[in-house]
Subunit: 188 residues, 2 copies
């Protein structure tokens, strides 16, 4: 599948079958994060694969509450990947408006999307979860002080019949410009 | 090319030929950003394609100085893509340690990497530039108040003979863990 087709099939999957994820595929997903680029090649992340059933269930339950219910599907996923954020290199702290922390988050976005695109290319579904109880997750996964939880990603085979949804996106004119923020995108 | 091969060929390209980038390829790159996922589908970006020679040169020169010289190659690139960051949706402001601004930067990382991977799949080279003189770039590209410059990306065909470098990355044990931050990555 070429990249332009891959990004059309990649979507947030919020329903999973209980088919386990093969170790070989898991290793390809880990490798996709390992090879991700980062500011000054600082690789400020650690990826924790959570598949122990009781632990995974506890982590999944720390991504929703009675008030915040949009992640209620998370316990269905056979694997939860937790992307933690460590320290960046000193060089990434200089310059422009960008601060160390901001580079770190751009890097986390890149690494997380490598994981999700690699999963889609292997027929697996993912969903990035940005809401979670960080204190609980840090305790469950023995994450040291000074290391933050960046994102959680659910992983598994989509539930039977889980459909590819049409993508709802801004029109080209709204998201692209040409030689000035004020001009329309390039055209033939 | 499948995704695991694509991420091996994607690298920062810091030397370009003067061969122009075809409009059709440029449109595929824009589409790869348009389809990128974002927190609550907020799509908080605008992509400015800069290819007017004088303007592109001025933008490129705002990415280095006598003290910060690592982007000195930027004026070689026939195109510079500027990813600006606008506003997120209210819903992405709730929850966890994540603040609105942090989601925005994760989203920018995802969108920028879509651009770079799509380029690699089309035989084009890119380099993300995180250091730049934001005030100058905002003025050159007529970017309104309240909109920030997130990242710049150089784009073009790699210079003749530009080689694929081996990737220098952390070992698996350093960047991956299994069911606890303290345990080794999953193994067969």
């Amino acid at each position: 599948m070429n990249f332009s087709d891959l990004i059309k099939t990649r979507q947030s999957v919020r329903g999973y079958s209980d088919r386990p994820v093969e170790l070989e595929k898991l290793q390809m997903l880990i490798e996709s994060v390992r090879l991700a680029p980062s500011a000054s090649n600082s690789q400020p992340w650690k990826l924790i694969i959570v598949d122990d059933p009781a632990l995974r269930d506890a982590v999944a339950r720390a991504t929703f509450s009675s008030a915040i219910s949009f992640n209620r599907f998370a316990p269905q996923a056979p694997v939860i990947a937790v992307l933690t954020v460590g320290k960046s290199k000193a060089i990434t702290q200089i310059g422009g408006w960008m601060k160390k922390r901001e580079y770190l988050l751009i890097d986390i976005g890149i690494a997380a999307e490598h994981f999700c695109l690699q999963a889609a290319d292997l027929g697996l579904g993912t969903c990035m979860l940005g809401w979670f109880d960080e204190t609980t997750i840090k305790k469950l996964l023995e994450i040291p002080r000074g290391i933050r939880v960046g994102l959680l990603i659910t992983l598994g085979y989509p539930a039977e019949g889980y459909a590819l949804r049409p993508k709802s996106r801004k029109a080209l004119e709204e998201m692209c410009a040409h030689n000035s923020y004020q001009h329309n995108s390039p055209r033939s």
